[in-house]
Every structure is written in structure tokens, then in C-alpha cells.
Symmetry: D4
Subunit: 248 residues, 8 copies
């Protein structure tokens, strides 16, 4: 509620066009509007085309279906991450046009087509095994209306593939770099491109990798500038952050 | 601002006893009042006799002095924790009645005498080296108006001292138990007394103690019920929590 | 055994009303009575309505049934935590009125109705996935005779839900706050309510969460005062501690 | 060297306007130009106004002075981070207009005034002790030509200060949020503003903070979207990343 | 081979009672005898009644059976730890008198009855869930010919059970104390009995227990003297060490 | 492209024997050739007989089969590590002469017989359970054309077996030492043989072994010289490194 | 108070030879006597010649002096560990015959000469830098009346020194083995001698030693039997444990 | 002592050319000769020109001088690592030709000139701050008679410097790569050169570097083949290992 709306309400109270009880009700609702928590968030989503997001892990297929059912009553695109095929089957019963992105482990329901960005996001991985995380990032960015350029398996072991694609990478507005093991690719990309790099460590590896810790620490202590990091295996977070930057 | 106050304001607007501009001003201020952040916090402190608290670590003596100077303009007791003697010397220049609690590394300025609680808090330590943390807890509890019963060096190595003081400990309403090394004392006390136990691990020890980690993990995994834990060496936090419980 | 009882026993010995052998037997039993370990603990439980607690993890269904069978001979309520449905099926064979709390993974047998407290405990969670831990806390508090107000899924991502329930939270005498991921909710609640906060980190999350470590460290280093912490996923411990405080 | 420049060179060789030896010399230098490592980086810096950066830690004052001396021969602004006053004194002997930013522990030499950005970066801290890291971020962003809005000490303990500045924060194009202890502020800001958040954990705190680990893990596992993280105490990295995003 | 035996051999060579070839053969075998690796170890085992030990984990049932088959050709008792029932079934096919200790996860084959020690080893646990580790320790000590007094579930939560058995514990020559969770029992026992305490942390617990780390660190940093520690869940190691001490 | 080749090209441009467009094309291709990434790597493999390597973990049997199918078109030997029997079954459908090394979890396809080295690599393990890692190292070294001498189960518990094989070990040109638990064997071997030792920690063990961490740290901090370390369970890495050294 | 003494007291009460008040007084004192905490501990110390022990770390010189002053009133030997020269200077003012063991960082005051044990303890170190810990162990064992055989710098890097002293080591009744870095020496000694081994990890080393963690984990996961471990750098604990075993 | 020597000795005993006492003496000395611990090590050193090595850390200047004094009696080169200038000053008093390598923190005394290797070792660092570790590696390799090619500050941030020196690096027989922060350089070098790479993590960095842990884990989990790792900051170990390989 803007200051103008507030003034208008008070004038209606003053003039008697608005009962005190009705005004009271609206004003008690005010703090949340003034602070702009949920509601403004809702507006933002409707305005920017950002869908609601459901974090599937730890939810039952029924819970996911129920949340989707509620969201279908609103005119928004829907994204559920860390979603199993069982969840998808449940969702299908109420939303036949839902799609399942197997590798990304994501469900999407597109209720409206977002206007595509002019610029795009590059999503690149060091290895083949990093692809599920990359797909999660890509699907996330795409449902927010971003164009995505996928470039997989260009890690240090095949560095010529990175170099031969350097021009392509440099054309992106923001770069998501996903790597497991020692997680060195973001450092390398950060030193070669003049764009913000969102680094995603993955739990790909074994032994001293310690579930992604090695890649995580490596990315955090990167000697390259212009690199920031999200949680291990957090493709969604990287896709969201990249979308935010791409749409500035 | 309560619903009643809000209704009253709207009635004044309706009746013309309040201009729309003035009402607008008050209502724009509303969120913070309704959510009651700082102001209610302030009221709570004045009401309960809880003084403002200054965390001295990482501040210069001048910064501490300046904050104290500002607080002296309010009618509250003042507590600065992790305070050095240098900070105290600076504070003395503006507040000659400030006290320095050497072992607790705390400065207090008592501007009004809090009404003492009927019940009291027991602050007990496993060893002599845990005393600085205990004193921080005790000084904190005292400036909040709690009576404190100190009982130091009753760890497992001298368990008879714990037993011979068991009745005394049981008379307290809440017990703060402070221990380094393996941090087993809270488990023992938790199994013997029927009162909430606030456990404080200390960094006293060496080697596999890893700066208090051993005591911390030990307290968190205590097999005794009725034990909760604060940060390593956090005497202040324990004293504050104990005061909250004691004054319920 | 009080001093008066002891004097009476000696007078009976002196007068010959008590044989030396019988007195000897009673006195050899004395240390435990004087120190009040098991027996006083038993009395305390009978007196306060606290039921015996069975930690189900690592026990066979038969073991749990046998312990319950023994406890049914005493006039107490029974609580078994970390209990599987298999354990419940076994318990049902000897106690048809046993209840299974699926989400809380707890079995209760209510042999007597505890007198309810006037004040209540608020149990709030950051997310939906934290609910099992919350239910364990709530069921624990309830069998001890506490009224519980459950408030789930009010984490930072939906902070308006926290604010819109702030008055309700403030009405509780003690607040249990349960959160996974970065575990920031207790800090926030601790800064907004004037009641003791028992924080419970959960293992909900992935990657750098490291099985609840992120939430645990976050809660321990909370900048809010009046927050103490129990073990990761330890709903029982939080419910017990909250009950202790609520019943002071 | 662009394709056009390369063609021109070859034409000069063909026409005899360029000796083969001279062309050879230039072409041997080519790979690096073609791959655009150092030289393109240099071009980028000259073009974008990004100065060279010297990481002072582990260097002697003489080494820092010598690097600055070399850089003074190029027409760029100079930034040295983690710089001591001793380093500054050395630098002053060759560059009297060098400035020392005491709190940021940074030396700057401004050889040309960067064109200021229209949009700005908000740099906000949870506590007073986080200010050195914040100043490092701010000085970094400023020498790259960004406008910076500093907002310090608005952590959860004084959350009303955050709320009263929410509009101001929302006006920034990118937000750097710096916090020690449990590091919860970025989660909160990420949930309230619709801008990319660069989170910087600091080593401010003690005990279970473990040198910034608690804040770091908290930020990485944040339940808020649109938050990415840099290394503990890495103000420079945050300022650089924020500048990259702000100048897109 | 002792110096005397060596002198005797040389005298035989000198006198011609021993051919040079035979002496050469014996002397080439000497290093191992002189250093006393395998062979002396064998002698020691035959002499002290210590059986060969098979660590079952990571071996196939067939491998365990084959090793047992080989050992049956020697006149020794056999102990296999971390043994599954499948391994036992295999062993049974070649050794019908093999026993399986289910709780201890151990197979024993007694080929000769060791002479029992006069003194005995106490094996005590904090909780019921620590029993598998305790049984492994007890079975190990028993097959080495030690008398064992088992005392289970006397942890801090039921400390009166410890006290009521104190005389019994003090009668042992060495005490093995097994505990999970915070692992405080060895500290308590170490402070109450005048005998060497071998502490065994177990992985019993959850959350901040971190697979036994909490108990391990607690035992290592014990404030009680006369306590030494073996690996997490290492009942065998404790039983072996206790046997060594008991048989001195 | 050497300087001479470059000079020749320029002379051709100068003389008109080479069109500017052709020269431009070659020079634009130059960086990758000059830096010699993929191509030189390919040459190296064909030249040295090193096969391509497929890291099976995290790939589907179909993916492994497809990569093998592609590689069969090149005249190289093929090695797939961390390969399951399912992968092998898939590979068999296109390459009937593929072999499966069960213990090493590796698939090999030998298309040409490498010339065997004169010198050999010793692969020794501390225990029986370390054999899968050792076999991975041995199979790796063998497909690269190295002779391998396997020596298993010579750990400290049976140190005489190490000593009795010392001469044999010393005959190797490089020694791979594989150990779990405390990982002390490489230190011992490093002190006894005058050859480079590649140490491989394994995850064999339990408790404070922490998934191989104990062995890893032990090997890294070895007091013996001439020991370097690869990742936990990384038999392939050790076999590859040893092959590199053996073939120098 | 034994059952016989108790019966005698009751008979005296019965016969009137003891007043009820006197008997009451004695019986109220009973719990501590019956449980035998402090007093029995005192008896044990006087009986066994074990001196009181002062842990110097974290105490002021004055505190150490005061404790010594109190102990001088009892007829016991005195040991202060982790003692500085400043503490010693203070102790000298009241006890001119106090000795300072520089390398062991220990103060001893011998008030009576303990009867020496027939058997002895071997204290051996891997390196020269482990000597302070070894001396602490040796001084501790000696003041308890044990003969000690010191053997320093016999680590794996100079394993022949260990072997040439094997007979000497085997003559000891219990062996204390002290090692930093990878801490492999106890595993080796444990495999070669038929005596209990007390292993002491030290913080000697750097890098992946992590303050003694590498040695600690290595010793805990030792594949040798008969090895138990005390805290990092805990020479005192090892000396005490060894004394307990030696004097059995 | 070879079998032939042994036979000869026995024949001398048999013929009376050797007294039994003398033979006994030689044979008691045999184990060490047969196993070839110290003595063979000495031989190896004299033979290969490897000097004795003194680890200076934790030794007093006097101790270092005394060890050097002893070693001067042998005809070997001397190397002391982690040596302070104070140690050097002491050594100078007995060995005026000793050299101090300030950056390497090493003392060398060259008593004989080792024959230089034909091949050489490349020692390269990622940053300037890694130079002390690199110099330790280089000085170590040089005193063992290796030629060393130093190449400093060629990390990912200035990757063109690495590429422009690639031919030079490829000419080495073995490459030591030293890096702090994320430690990615060995992965890159390992992917580009066909030589064994010895990776040395350094403690250069801050925050999530955790004293070199980030670099260490990164190097251990490197996706490049042919890379093995030594301890954090262990320049000596890398230089020694590289020398061993170079001299094969």
C-alpha cells in the first residue's frame, strides 16, 4: 500500500465513504503490506514472471501435489526442484501439462510464457557427472524467462574444449560454472571472462572430496576475481542468482 | 499500537479531530511500532531492569566509551562484556562510578538498583580455570537483578564436592554449569537436579579439546535431559538465559 | 531419608523396637537415599507427572515391549521416542491403549491424565521438513502435562508468517524454535520475543549443511540473547527442557 | 590483436612495409593476444577503468612499492588490499598522492577519475566489528567507479534498523551483506529485497564460530534465493563481484 | 635365537658337529628370529594362550573359512571379530564346534582351555545400545583366558546403578568402560576407582555425536587420570589391552 | 608451430607464395596449435601407448558403452575404472574381447599389445581389504605397458612379511604402497627402500578412521622422505603416476 | 565405613554406649564415606605414594604457590605440570627444595622417597622434538615411584635404533610411546613387544598434522593390538596410566 | 652381509681362522646389516650423494650446531631445513663455509660437489607468496645434485605466463608445482605436461583456506592424472621426491 493509497483511505474515512471497521481491517493488514513481505513478494513474482518454487526434498508426493494444486489457482508458472518421478506422477493427476525434467530432477508447469531475455546465461560443467546440477540450474533459469547456453564437460582435463568455446562463453551476460572434484574450473573461467561467475561445487568425486567439501573450499578460495559461490549441488540457487543478474 | 489505539485514531480522523497529514505520519511509522522492534525492546528493558549490553570484543576503548556516554543519557544499567582494562579506563573518564570485574572481563555501571529476585541462579564450574566464564555469567545475571550462588571447582575429579553441595544446588531455580575439557559436569548435574541446566563449554584444555569443541559436543550429546547449551566460553549468554528463566 | 527419620530409626534401635539387622539393612540402603539418585528420581517422576522415557533407537521391538511391560506395573505415563511402527505393534500386544505418533516417531501410553499447565509452550518450525522434530518436541511436552501451541513453516523465506503470529508466540512462556539449513530462525525469534528460546537444529538440508552442522553452529553463535541449543534433531530434549521451564 | 589488425600486418609484410623480423616479433607475441590472457585483460582494465590489484598479504613493503612503481608507468588506478601502514609508507616515497584507507587496510592511487555509475551498490553489515571487511568491499567498488551506499550495524539484534532502511537498500542494484557470528543477515536481506545479494562471512565471533566457519556454512545453506557467497573476510572479492554486476 | 643358542651353533660348526650348509640355513633364517617378528609372535601366542585373531570386516565368508582352516592345523584358539552369520555358517562346515557370539559379532573356536586368571576384568557400559561393543570386548578377553565381570547400562542417567556396583567394579584389576553419546562414564569411573581404565567410545547417538566423535573427544580430554582410549566401537582392542594388563 | 615455421609462412606471404587469406586462417588457428592442448595430448597417447581412460562412477552403462564405441574407432587400448558388471555387460555387446577385472572394478579392451617395460612397479598393500584399490592400481599400470609385482597383506601387523620381501620390493623402480587404518606402511617402506613411493590411503577401517582421513593425514605427515600421496582409494591415480615414473 | 563398623555403631546405640546425637552425626557423614569419594581418594594417595597433582595451565604463579603451600601441610609429594619458571620462582619462596624440570615443564617437591618399583616403564619417542612430552611422562612416573627407562629419537626414520634397543624395550613392564607427525611408532612397537603400549600423539609437525590430529587419528586406528591412546601432548596422562599399570 | 660373506665367516669358524667370540660379535650385529637399516642407508647416502637432512623446527640452535658438528666428521653434504638465522649463526662458528638460504629457511654445507644431473626439475609456483616453499624445494633438489629451473608466479590469475613457459616446463623430467589458495595450478599443469607432477599445497591464503586445507583437498581430488601430493608447505618433501624421480 503506497502513501497515496493510504492517504486516499484516510480521506474516505474522513468523508465517511469508508466505515471505520472496514478501514481498520485494511490497516491491520497493513504491516505486511508496508513491509512488503509475502504480498509484495507475490507482486514481484507476478510482475517479473518468477514462478513459485517448491523444494521437493523431504516432502511426500501428496504434499507436492497439494501445493501445486493450490498454486494452480494462481496465474503463475510452477517449479518443483529435487522432485522424484513419484511426485511427478501425483502432479500429473491434477495438471496434465506438467513436465518432468529427469536429469534436473525438476517438475515444471508453464501457465504463461515468459518474455525471453535478450541476453543469456551460460551454464557450463567440468564433467559429465555434473550434468544433473547443471540441468537444475538451466531449468530454473529458463522458467524465469532466461535464454540458456549449455556447455558441458569442458573441465581442465579437456581444457582445449574450454578454449575453443571461449568466445561463446564470453557472449553470455553471466556464467554459471559447475564442477566437482577439486572444483578448479570457476577459477579458470573467472580469469578468462569479464562476466560475473556463479560457481557451484558438486559432490561428484570420492575420498578427500568429502562430499563436495574440496570443491567448495577451492571455489571459495579462488584466486580469480568475480567469482561467488552457492551451496554444494545447488543448481537451483545458481540458476536463480544468474537470472537475477541477467535480468537487471 | 494496539487495535484499540488504531480504532481511536481512525475515529479522530473521521471526526476531524486529527488531520489527515498527522494521521498519515503516524500510520507510516506504524509498521515498526506494530512489529515492535526497537521500541518494544526498549520498553522491555526499562520494564524488566535489563540493561543495555555492549559486546566489547573488536571495539576500541573510544568506541566503548562513546556507547557508554550515549547510554548514560538513558536511565539504565550498563554492562560491557569482553572488556579490557583499557576500555574501563576510558569509561572511567565519563562515568566515575563504573566498576571493572577483572575476572569476568566486564564493565558495569549501575544507575538504579534492580529489585532482587526471590529465587536464585546457581553458577557452578568444573575447574578453577573456568572461573572467568563463570564470573561473566554471574555478573550478567546480577546486573539483571538475580541473586547468584557461585560454586566453583566441583568437577568430576572432585565429585564429592559436588555431592556435598547438592542440596545447595537444588535450591536454585536454574543452574548454569560451566566446564572445559570433556565437559561432563552438566550431564552429571542434569541427572541429579530437577531444574533447567544451562551448559557452557569452555575452551579450557588442550590437544583433542580443539578449542572447546570436545566440551561442546559432549554437552550437546548429553544423555541427561533438561540440559541446553550455549556457545563456547559464552558466560554472558548463559547468564542472560538463566536470568530470563529465573524471572519468569 | 531425612535427619528426623534417621533419628527415629536410631531411637527405635536404642529402645529395641527395631532389630539391629533390620536397621543395618535400612542404613546400608542409605547412601542412595541420602544422595537421592534413583529413588528420589523415581519420587520426582511420580510427584511431577513426568513419565519414564524410552529411547527407542538401537533397541529391538521386543526390548521396547519388555521395558513397557515393566513400566506398566508402575502407575506412570510412558513415552518412547525414536520408535518405529514395529515397536508400536509389539507394544500394542501388551498395552492396547498405546498411541503411535507417526510424525513424531513416538509411542505414548497414558495411564493417568496430567493436570494441564496454565501457561503454554510454543513449538515453531522454519520449514515443513522440520515437522518430525517439532512433533517429537510437542508430544514430549504434552505427555508432561504442558499445553503446546504448534506453529509450523514460518521460516525466513516466509517471514510475514512469523510476524503475523508474533503476538501468539509472545503469549507462550517458553518457545522451542526448530530449523534446518542455516538455522537462522532462533536468532530472529530471540530478537523479537522476551521469552527463553530453546533452539533445535535439524539435519534438513544438503551440501554444506553437513548433517545439521551448519544450523547447529549458526544457533550456537547466534547474536540474539536468550537462546540456548540442544542436539541436532533432538526434539525430545527441547520438549523436556521447555517443560521444565514452563513448569517452574 | 584483432583479425583486422592481423590482416593489416600481413598486408604490410606482403607489401614490404614491414620487415619479416619485426612481424615475426609481433606474431610470436600473438598467442597470448589471440587467447586474450594478460593483454586483453589489460585492455579490459583500461577500457573499464578497473585498476590493477595487489594482494598485500605475505609481501614485503619493498615488494609492494616495486609493484606500484611498475604500475605507475601505466595509466591505471592502483589498489593494494591487505596492506599495512608500513607498505603505505614505502609507497608514499614513490607516489605522494597515494591514499591509505586504514579501516579497509587498503592503499589506492588514483591516476584517473573513473566515470561514476548511475546505479549504486549497497554495502551493509550486521555489526560494527564487520566494518573493516565492509570498507574493503566499499573501497574496492569505489575505485572501480561504483557509487556505494554504506549501511553498518543493522544485524538481527537491531532488526528495526534494517527495516527502517529497507527502501534505501532496495534502491541499490546489488547488495553486499557482511556478517560474522551466525551470519544470518544475508538470508534475511535475500528474503526482503529483489536484488542479487553477495554475502561475505566474517571471522567476527568466538567459540563455535571457528574463525568464520559458522557464518560461512550459514550463508551457503541459506534458505533465501538470490544469495551467493565469497570467502571469509573477503571484502575485496565481494566489492569486485558487485562492481561486475553493477556495471553490466 | 638367544646368544647362547647362537654360541652353541658356532661351536657345533667349529667342531664339525654341524655342517656349514645347515648352519647357513639356520642363520639365513636368523634375522626374523633375532628380530622376533612372526615366529616370536607365534611363540608368544602359544606361550600365553593368545589365539590368532581374524578381522572379519571386508572379508568374504570363504576367506574367513580358509583362514580358519589354516589355523585349525595349529593348536590355537581362534577368534574372528566383525564376523557375520554367513561367515559363521561357512566356518561351521569345517569346524563344527565353532561358536557364534551374536551380539559380539564374533566367532570363536576353542581348541584348548586357557588357564583362567585369578583376577578379572570389569566390562561396563553406559547404555544398553553399547552392549555389542561390550560383548566384543568381553568375548575377546575371555578367549585370552581372562575372567570377565559384565556390568551393563550404568551410565550417568542411572548413576545410582554405578554407585551400587562400585565395590564390584573396584574388585576388578582393570576396567573397560564403554559409552556413546557424550562418553562421560570413563571420566566418572576413572575418578572413583584406583585401577587402569580403558575407555571405548561408541558410535551410539545422533546429530552432534558425529559417528562417535563426541564420545571420542570427551574421553581423550577426560579430566580424570588413569584413562586411556581406543578407537570408536573398538571392543576388541579394549578387550585385548585389558587382557594384556590383567595378565601382567 | 615453431618460430622457423612461422618465419617460413611470413616469407611466403612476403613473396606472394601464400595468400593473405590462407595465412590469416593458419594464424588464427595458431593459439591452439601453439599451446598444443587436445591435439598434443592425443599425439602423446598414441605415441606412448597410454589408453584413453573412462571414469565409470556416475555414468550409466549406456554412457560407458557409447564412449567405448567411440574409442573403438581409434586404435587405442581402453580402460574404464569404477566400472560395474552392468557396464561390462553393455560393453560386451559391442566389444566381445573386453575383459572385466572384478576386484579392480575395471574394464579393459586391449587393441594392441604395449611393449613391456624392463623395469617394474611394486604394488603392495598393508591388508587384504586394500586389495581392490591395489588391483585398480595394478590393472592401470599394466594396460600402460608396465610390469607389476603384486605383494599383498604385508602391513605392520605382519612386518616380517615385509622384511622377507624387502629385496623383492627394492628391485622395483617405483613402489605403490596402499594402506587403510593408520596408513603407516608407506612411512615404513619409505624408510627402507631407495625408490619413489606413491602412497594410497584407503577407506578401510572404522571409527576414527573417518572414511580414510586417518590414513590420508598419516601419509601426508609421514616422517619418511620420498613419499607422495594420492586421493583416498585412488588406485588408478597411483597406477598412472607410477607408470609415468617407471617409463621416464 | 564398613558393614562391620556400622553394625558395631548400632550395637553401641542399642546398648547405650553411644548417644543418639553422636551416632546421628557420624551417620550423616556416612554417604561420602560410604561412597568413598574424596576421603578414600586421599587414603589411596597416602597409601600408594601418589602425590597430589596440580595442573598449572591457566593458573597464576600465586595460585600455584598457594596450592603448594596448602599441600605442604600434608605429608605428600607434590607435582605441578604445565608449570612455568615464574610459577617455580613463586613456589621456591615457600619450598626451597622444590625442583624445576625445564624440559618437562614440571615442578616437583619430594617430601618422602617413594619405594621404587622392581619393574620399570619405558618411555620412548619418535623424534627429538617429542622430548618435552616424554619428560613430562617420565617425571610423572618417577614421582609415583616408578623406575623409568628413557629412549628418545627412535622413530621410523631411524628404525634401526628401535631394533637395536628392542630387548631393552621388552624388559619394561609397560611402554609409553610418544610420536608426532604421522604417529606410526606405537603401531610398530605394539607389533613388536608383548607389553601394554600407551600411545601419546604430539603436536609436533605442521600442515596436515593439524595440531596433532594426524598422529591422534593414526594411533587410534592402529592395526596393532595392545595400544591405547591419551590426549595430544598429554605426557602426564601417559605417565600416570603407565604407573597404574606398572604398580598393579 | 651376503650369503657368500656369511658362508665365508662360517668356514673361518670351522677352520679355526676366526674365534667364536669374534664371529658371535659379527653375527649379533647381523640383523641390522641383513635388514640394512641405518648402515645401508648410510651407504646409500654416500653412494648417491644425498646429504643427511636436519629438520630444524623445534630444535635449539645449539642442537642444530651439534648435529652439524657430528656430521662434519663424515664426508657428506649437509642440509638443515626450517632453520632460523640463529641456527645459522651457531653453525657458522664450526663451519665457516656454511650457507644460509634466507627465503628457503635452509642451511647447507657443501663438502663435496655432487655430479649434476643431465635432466632437470622444474619448480613452479602459483604466486609470489609461495616462494619460500619453492626455494626449500629447489635448495633441497640442488644439494642432491639436481639442476633446477625456477618459474615463479605463474598461477591461474596470470595463466598466459604459464602458457608462454610451457615448452620450458615440458623440458623438465619432473615438475614440482606449488600453490596456495584453491591450489588449482597442479591440475592445470598435470593436464598440459607429460611428466610426473609433485604438488605442494601451501598455507598461503585466509578464511576458508583453513591453513592450506583447501589447497590440499583440491590437489588430492585433482581431475588430472599424474599428480601426487605432499604435505602443506612441505617444499623439502617435494624436492626430495623430485630428486628421487629425476635420478632414476
Amino acid at each position: 500500500m503506497t502513501a497515496d493509497e493510504l492517504r486516499k483511505l484516510l480521506e474516505e474515512v474522513h468523508s465517511g465513504n469508508q466505515t471505520i471497521d472496514k478501514a481498520l481491517e485494511k490497516l491491520q493488514d497493513l504491516p505486511f503490506k508496508d513491509l512488503g513481505f509475502a504480498k509484495i513478494d507475490n507482486h514481484r513474482e507476478l510482475r517479473t514472471g518468477y514462478p513459485e518454487i517448491i523444494f521437493g526434498a523431504g516432502k511426500t508426493p501428496q504434499q507436492v501435489r497439494d501445493i501445486v494444486a493450490f498454486m494452480l489457482t494462481k496465474d503463475v508458472n510452477i517449479l518443483a526442484t529435487r522432485a522424484t518421478r513419484e511426485m511427478y506422477d501425483e502432479v500429473l493427476t491434477i495438471s496434465p501439462d506438467a513436465e518432468y525434467h529427469e536429469m534436473a530432477r525438476a517438475i515444471t508447469v508453464r501457465k504463461k510464457k515468459p518474455e525471453l531475455t535478450d541476453t543469456h546465461i551460460a551454464v557450463i560443467t567440468a564433467g559429465t557427472s555434473d550434468m544433473p546440477v547443471a540441468e537444475e540450474a538451466a531449468v530454473t533459469a529458463e522458467i524465469f524467462g532466461n535464454k540458456v547456453d549449455r556447455l558441458f564437460d569442458v573441465g581442465i582435463a579437456g581444457i582445449h574444449r574450454l578454449y575453443s568455446n571461449l568466445e561463446r562463453i564470453r557472449k553470455a551476460r553471466v556464467v554459471v560454472v559447475i564442477a566437482g572434484m577439486e572444483g578448479a574450473l570457476p577459477s579458470l573461467v573467472g580469469g578468462l571472462v569479464d562476466k560475473p561467475v556463479i560457481a557451484v561445487p558438486t559432490s561428484v568425486g570420492y575420498g578427500a572430496n568429502f562430499g563436495g567439501l574440496a570443491a567448495l573450499l577451492g571455489m571459495l578460495t579462488s584466486c580469480a576475481s568475480g567469482v561467488s559461490v552457492v551451496n554444494i549441488d545447488n543448481g537451483f540457487g545458481a540458476g536463480y542468482m544468474a537470472s537475477m543478474i541477467n535480468k537487471l
